[in-house]
């Protein structure tokens, strides 16, 4: 059972890592003018919900399987994801808004956020891997 949880988490985590990398690449494309703000934002907004759901699933899974430490580790990030999704002003086109992204350094902060998430997911990935390995070794 344990191993199933961690295998699933690993897969999910991989997906999240890819997503974070995708965010970073797309944002830096925008930064370098390879794409315009409109297409960048519509690309990214599509993935905001999947990311949120993907991460929420792992978090809930950890809660259910009673891995408290991992759950608490994931909780702030999951909360932040949900919070920023909820707090999008009604007039905006999503978390990433093409009319705002070039103003007040939003691009930078989005970028930074994606970087931090990437780091976090990598950390999680190795943690899950370690737990999985130690599980199967123990068995």
């Amino acid at each position: 059972m344990e191993s199933v949880v961690f295998i699933f988490s690993l897969i999910d985590c991989c997906a999240l890592i890819f997503l974070a990398v995708y965010f970073i690449i797309t944002l830096s494309d925008l930064e370098c003018d390879y794409i315009n703000a409109r297409s960048c934002c519509s690309k990214l907004n599509k993935w905001v919900v999947p990311e949120l759901v993907g991460h929420a699933i792992v978090t809930v899974l950890m809660l259910i399987s009673l891995h408290w430490f991992i759950f608490l580790l994931n909780l702030p990030v999951a909360t932040w994801n949900i919070y920023r999704f909820i707090m999008v002003p009604s007039g905006n086109m999503g978390v990433f808004d093409p009319t705002e992204i070039h103003n007040r350094g939003q691009l930078k902060s989005h970028m930074k956020e994606a970087m931090i998430k990437l780091g976090f997911h990598l950390l999680c990935f190795f943690m899950y891997l370690y737990r999985l390995v130690s599980q199967s070794a123990a068995r």
Binding site: I24, I25, L27, S28, D29, L30, E31, C32, D33, Y34, I35, N36, A37, R38, S39, Y83, R84, M87, P89, S90, G91, N92, M93, V95, P98, T99, H102, N103, R104, G105, Q106, L107, K108, S109, H110, M111, K112, E113, M115, I116
Partner: protein, 1102 residues
């Protein structure tokens, strides 16, 4: 802290937010340094590779100069004289003609700077500026491709006589741009393709050219040679330039130079002197003496350095040669001290500076408001440079002394930014037609007066410091008809200039002017009677619509359904087509909805005459604005153009339907007011429009709440404008009718630019991080403006990303590429140059208080929307407190009591107080939500002059106007009464006062006003008989009346909108709005000026 995306969270605490309310720009971002070089493509000397040989011939063959030195900037100047070619160069068949709306996908080779991430917050700066221009074309072809492109054109060229202009029957798709290379005569005069190589081949790193300091190296002299062509300058034979380049500079030349470099620059005994200080008087070896043994490798010829060049840097390049490295700066050839004026400051300037530095105790000096209109401060540059600088009405910086570092800027607590009015109507605008537009090869800056010419063949970009070649063509000066004077070309003599853009600047053939009018014809709309006014005004101005034979026009009306009008030729009357499926709007017929104005004039006039009557019996109260806009967008998207929407109520049907959000009782509750849009429908549609080069202008004529916050997005992001006529009604509110008429006339007849983009570039080290205005920021520094009009202003905030300490001056350039209503592609370029300073007191000395106020107002609008109104108000107050506190602690050596402010900022508290009392930001219940939002739109979209007038009105006493100091314009004498402070204490009961608040004027007549004024100007026998709601002054034959009316007419003429004049008596209901504008006085909800000062003093001295 990754939150900034969520302002509410980040700036929750009101006072907390105030702590660094408007950070003066981004936090200095260390990481960005690495990415900078990428933004401006590496301009290191090593990368210098000339393509001249390849380039020259085509330029020549297609080159035509057609320069008219000062044309009136009307749309007519495409016919520029006999030699002018009237047809355009067709994009070669193979060249990419893209939909203009599509995003240029060709990418610069710049590496990604993904690692750059910022400290976040307000403060992050955008990534390195991209170095590629508008379309993809120029950027995508490094080097020679442009050339080949032109060559191709030249090959297929044919010259059309003017009469062969395509007739007006051209269907839109068939613009005929015959390729026609330049005028043959010029072509031959100096074209010498084969002779160009000398400038080309240098392997030398560019900057070392200006030369070996001491002692001429055996062979190398040439760069400094000053062979003279100028003696024969009138028509420089091409052949002569070649030998010159081969001239050898041996000892005799050197001696020559040394002896003649007498113009005051340090006399070097070497070539430097020649470069720096050659004189016309010098005896030049005749061009015919080819001195041949000079090495080819230094082929830069200096045909001659004409006077303008002469005073090059006092330091003489020679001294710096070894160290002369890339950032070293900008020393324009023609100016000794390009930098700040210190060295050359005369006594007068010095004392003036000290005057400027003298702090003002605001609590003591009551009368700080100047009696004349406040002028922009003059940058402290050498007068010769300042003379060339851009007019402050067009381009203005909040700090005319740019701080060297971000740290210094942060210390000053003042915002750094630019305010632009790029498309202002100008009476004189040089227009250049030339097949090559000279631009920096790395940052694509247009050549401008502040570049430095290293020698005659090379110029150094003042933004990225790359050294560029002067193209052969540029050597010929069409104004003086002289060869070899690139620095005298109009491009280098005018900070504001317009280029006729060749076909590389087109992504598609220039679009025809297309105007679509969308009218609300619901019951409510018909009630207001606006349709009569609008149709009549349109009818009257049909001939004045900017355009040409290709102009197209169309109409849509809507209530709960959408009505199209077919104006097909041959129909006896317009045919109405009704689309009732508003969920999925479609265009009922592909053609004839947008028709050529000239060919279908009768039908159009017919429609305009009948339209107002058609719906008089309509009982439909619903309004399907969203679907109507979608239909309009679909109709316009193939061509682009302008949609003018007239709306009178809250849209209630289909997509984009809105709900009323205004709760009258809660208006005071600043926290809950709805300044943000309630749906993203309008924003999305606006972005779609922007992509298809369609702009939407919104005329809102509404009595009730119409949610302008949501509706306004349609104009805001498509670069349109918003007009708001509160409670418009043809009977109940006749003054609004006149206002609408006048403003609509201006709107219809003003200049317009289509499919425009604007780029703002600034010297390396500075970067733009926030944009204000109506447009869509398509990529880091590219503003997409489907339409541009002369009444729109823009603002940007900037940050100092890298230390500017090794520069004396920085420059800013805005370039607006647009299609004129005549179908020409044009580029309007403005360049401004400002000195860099290292001390805080200099920063304060150069502060431009009006620009600062304007920028702060823009920032405050953003803040109100993203956080809350009270946050924005706190931020405004804190901006004053912080800057004065910083001044007090860092600049003032002696701590005096009172509230000390630098002289340049003495009006700062007053203006900020005025902002706080302005409709956009005032607390309290008096402003309706739509009105408040409209004022915010205006803050964002108005040029600074009008914004200042709306913020801080001008008050004049008009009962005793005299001709003293009057202006004389067109035989009219316009009195210039002094401006009074906005305080009731300045009013006297026996006077009459005119308050000019921009979009409205009040004439307050005192109770004991002179009988003379009342009878001679107001035309009534006594005070009691002045009507309650008088809005016009009678035209009387008396001197007083003429003076007053000409004065008011003059004030009105100066602005694009029409201020209504209200005549206010003591007991009239408008008195309160008049008194509301008395900014220095106390109102029920706001402090008086003196109280405000005390509050600030308290905070500053804390």
């Amino acid at each position: 802290m990754a939150q900034p995306a969520r302002p509410p969270a980040a700036f929750r605490g009101q006072n907390g937010a105030g702590q660094q309310p408007y950070s003066n720009g981004p936090v200095q971002n260390q990481l960005m340094h690495s990415s900078d070089g990428q933004g401006y493509n590496p301009s290191a000397p090593g990368s210098y590779s000339h393509q001249m040989p390849a380039k020259v011939p085509p330029h020549q063959s297609s080159g035509q100069y057609n320069y008219s030195s000062s044309q009136i900037a009307s749309q007519l100047n495409n016919y520029q004289g006999p030699g002018q070619i009237l047809n355009r160069v067709a994009p070669p068949s193979g060249s990419p003609v893209q939909q203009a709306g599509s995003v240029p996908q060709v990418l610069p080779p710049a590496p990604q700077n993904s690692a750059a991430s910022s400290a976040g917050g307000f403060g992050a700066a955008p990534p390195g500026l991209s170095s590629w221009p508008y379309g993809q074309a120029p950027a995508s072809h490094p080097g020679g491709s442009q050339t080949s492109h032109l060559a191709h054109v030249a090959g297929t060229a044919s010259i059309h006589p003017p009469s062969s202009l395509p007739g007006n029957s051209n269907p839109p798709g068939s613009y005929q741009y015959a390729a026609s290379p330049g005028g043959p005569p010029l072509q031959n005069s100096y074209m010498k393709p084969a002779s160009a190589p000398p400038p080309v081949t240098q392997p030398l790193p560019p900057l070392h050219l200006p030369r070996p300091p001491l002692g001429p190296p055996p062979v190398a002299g040439p760069p400094l040679i000053r062979p003279s062509t100028l003696t024969a300058a009138a028509a420089p034979p091409p052949s002569s330039s070649v030998p010159q380049s081969l001239l050898n500079s041996t000892a005799n030349r050197e001696g020559d130079a040394a002896s003649t470099a007498s113009d005051g620059s340090v006399v070097q005994n070497s070539y430097d002197a020649i470069e720096g200080g050659g004189l016309m008087a010098t005896t030049h070896p005749s061009p015919a003496t080819p001195n041949v043994n000079m090495g080819r490798n230094v082929g830069y010829s200096y045909p001659n350095l004409p006077p303008g060049y002469q005073n090059t840097s006092p330091g003489a390049p020679g001294l710096q040669a070894p160290a002369l490295q890339y950032p070293d700066g900008s020393k324009p050839f023609h100016q000794p001290p390009l930098g700040p004026n210190h060295l050359t400051a005369s006594m007068g300037t010095l004392s003036l500076q000290q005057e400027g530095l003298r702090p003002v105790n605001l609590l003591q000096e009551r009368n700080i408001l100047p009696t004349t209109i406040l002028q922009a401060p003059v940058p402290n540059l050498h007068e010769d440079i300042q003379k060339l600088n851009c007019n402050p009405e067009l381009f203005r910086c909040t700090l005319t002394n740019i701080p060297q570092t971000q740290a210094l800027l942060n210390k000053a607590k003042l915002p750094l930014g630019l305010l632009l009015h790029p498309f202002k109507d100008l009476s004189q605008l040089p227009v250049v037609t030339s097949s090559t537009i000279v631009r920096c090869r790395s940052c694509r800056t247009y050549i401008n007066p502040f570049v430095s010419f290293l020698d005659q063949r090379r110029w150094k970009c003042n933004l990225c410091y790359r050294v560029n070649d002067v193209p052969e063509e540029f050597m010929y000066n069409p104004v003086t008809r002289a060869y070899g004077e690139p620095h005298k070309r109009p491009e280098v003599q005018n900070a504001t200039i317009e280029f006729m853009a060749p076909s590389e600047y087109m992504l598609r053939p220039p679009q025809p002017p297309v105007y679509l009018f969308v009218f609300d014809v619901s019951h409510n709309a018909i009630e207001t009677g606006y349709l009569n006014t609008v149709c009549q005004t349109l009818l009257d101005n049909l001939d004045l619509l900017p355009g040409n034979t290709r102009t197209k026009i169309g109409f849509i009306t809507f209530d709960s359904t959408i009505h199209f009008y077919s104006l097909q030729e041959g129909l006896s009357q317009p045919q109405m087509l009704i689309v009732s499926d508003i969920e999925d709007v479609f265009i009922p017929m592909p053609e004839n909805l947008l028709v050529n104005l000239n060919e279908n004039r009768e039908l159009i006039q017919d429609l305009l005459k009948t339209l107002p009557q058609m719906f008089t019996k309509s009982l439909e109260t619903q309004s399907a604005l969203g679907p109507a806009l979608q239909a309009a967008f679909k109709l316009m998207s193939p061509t682009g153009g302008r949609i003018s929407v007239f709306q009178t109520q809250l849209p209630s049907l289909g997509m984009g339907a809105l709900k009323s959000r205004e709760e009258p009782n809660q208006r005071s509750n600043a926290k809950d007011i709805h300044l943000t849009p309630s749906t993203d429908f309008y924003k999305k549609l606006a972005l779609d429009c922007s992509g298809q080069q369609v702009a939407v202008d919104l005329f809102l004529l509404s009595g009730q709440y119409s949610d302008l916050a949501s509706l306004g997005c349609i104009s805001r992001y498509s670069a349109g404008s918003v007009y708001y006529y509160q409670s418009y009604h043809h009977k109940h509110n006749p003054v609004q009718v006149e206002k609408l008429q006048k403003e609509l006339k201006r709107y219809l007849t003003r200049k317009i630019g289509f499919e425009a983009v604007m780029r703002i570039r600034c010297t390396k080290g500075l970067s733009i991080h926030t944009f204000h205005g109506n447009f869509f920021v398509r990529s880091t520094d590219l503003l997409s403006l489907p339409n541009v009009n002369p009444d729109a202003g823009y603002a940007v905030q900037m940050a100092v990303e890298e230390s500017l300490s090794d520069m004396q001056v920085v420059s800013f350039q805005s370039a607006l590429l647009y299609t004129s209503s005549k179908g020409e592609r044009r580029i309007r370029v403005h360049t401004m140059c400002l000195p860099v300073v290292a001390t805080l007191s200099d920063v304060y000395l150069g502060a431009d208080v009006q620009a600062i106020t304007g920028l702060l107002a823009n920032m405050a609008v953003d803040r109100s929307v993203s956080a809350s109104l009270s946050d924005a108000r706190d931020a405004l107050v804190n901006a004053v407190i912080d800057s004065l506190a910083a001044y007090r602690s860092s600049v003032l050596s002696i701590q005096q009591p009172g509230l000390m402010a630098p002289r340049s900022l003495r009006l700062f508290p007053l203006y900020v107080l005025a902002l706080l009392k302005q409709k956009a930001f005032q607390a309290g219940t008096s402003a309706r939500l739509d009105e408040r939002i409209f004022t915010m739109c205006q803050v964002k979209n108005q040029p600074l002059v009008y914004l200042m007038l709306m913020t801080h009105p001008n008050l004049y006493r008009v009962d005793n106007l005299s001709d003293e100091g009057a202006l004389n314009i067109n035989d009219k004498t316009i009195p210039q009464p002094p401006i009074l402070q906005l305080s009731v204490e300045k009013l006297s009961r026996d006077g009459a006062y005119l308050m000019d608040a921009g979009s409205v004027m009040y004439l307050w007549v005192g109770k004991n006003c002179g009988q003379n004024f009342i009878s001679q100007v107001l035309g009534v026998p006594n005070y009691g008989s002045v009507p309650q709601n008088m809005t016009h002054l009678p035209e009387l034959e008396t001197a007083e009346s003429i003076r007053t009316t000409t004065f008011i007419a003059w004030l009105r003429e100066q602005r694009p909108f029409f201020p209504i004049l209200y005549i206010v008596k003591d007991e009239s209901p408008l008195k309160s709005s008049f008194l509301q504008n008395m900014i220095e006085d106390r109102t029920e909800s706001a402090l008086s000026y003196y109280e405000f000062l005390l509050h600030i003093q308290q905070q500053v001295n804390k």
